[in-house]
Subunit: 140 residues, 2 copies
DNA sequence: AATCTTTATAACATGATATAACATCGATCG
DNA sequence: CGATCGATGTTATATCATGTTATAAAGATT
């Protein structure tokens, strides 16, 4: 319950969220416009025309967006994706296609419940979790 | 260091990154495809078509895979074998401490079963999956 | 022993990803 | 005012994976 904020109301509209800094908004809009997971340096390239010149600018914005729960990082591919859920959640599940750039975030009900006892047995206190599933998506 | 049992304790103290690099993945898939122990230069030959040209590339990937507990070297024959690939696909679960470098791999029974229907509903065919749980380990 | 083949590393260069360190700017508040 | 704070800009560098060339080390063969 605490870990499960996956409402799945679909893409919550494309209007930029409030409370973003200038650079966060630029990065967020770039990512939304792309529609696919993006690498930090791809975002940087896309923003070169808007006067963004340094990696730092992008990474800081990505940090901010992630802290606000608006994006997630996919460690497996070093890419960043828009989070299409309506409020921050600590448990994320991604279906990552090996054949194409498609990444789908899904809600796996019961994952928290399944996981908790194993973590407890190991004396581990869960803060967040991210499950990256790799394989082939529907279209591939 | 354990000789030949599949201990599967996560990398301890040595902070090997989780997940596979591109070359590790290529080597891993070659070995899975073969189904038999392979020699380094056999793997190299098999990957010549994918643009792998140098022994170093293979040996580095083998080192990485071994550090992650995914393969073992058979010293007697200078061959490398997949470790613990009994399941059709592999689900790894890591408990990653945010306070210290400790990473523990655990076995979450039922994860596969829980996950499969969700993937099937999305038309997704699972190959591998990796769950990174972040939080505080027992000692922290 | 000398040589050849197979197995494995050393050493260096490049590219991709990410951060450190410090300077600047603008707003807000006492 | 000036002090402080968050955001931004700027430069330099760290880190990780890979590519590339050459060579070391170990066994087998002659």
């Amino acid at each position: 319950m605490a870990m499960d904020g996956c409402d799945h109301e679909g893409p919550d509209g494309d209007d930029a969220p409030l409370g973003l800094t200038k650079n966060e908004r630029r990065v967020w809009e770039t990512m939304v416009g792309s529609g696919e997971p993006m690498k930090a340096y791809e975002i940087l390239d896309a923003l070169k025309g808007s006067g963004v010149r340094a990696p730092m600018t992008v990474y800081r914005a990505l940090d901010g967006l992630e802290a606000k729960g608006l994006i997630h990082k996919l460690e497996g591919k070093n890419t960043y994706v828009i989070c299409n859920h309506s409020r921050p959640h600590r448990l994320q599940v991604f279906l990552v296609c090996d054949e194409c750039p498609t990444v789908t975030e899904i809600d796996v009900k019961g994952l928290d419940t399944l996981l908790s006892p194993f973590a407890r047995d190991a004396g581990f206190k869960i803060e967040t979790a991210r499950l990256e599933v790799r394989g082939r998506c529907e279209g591939c």
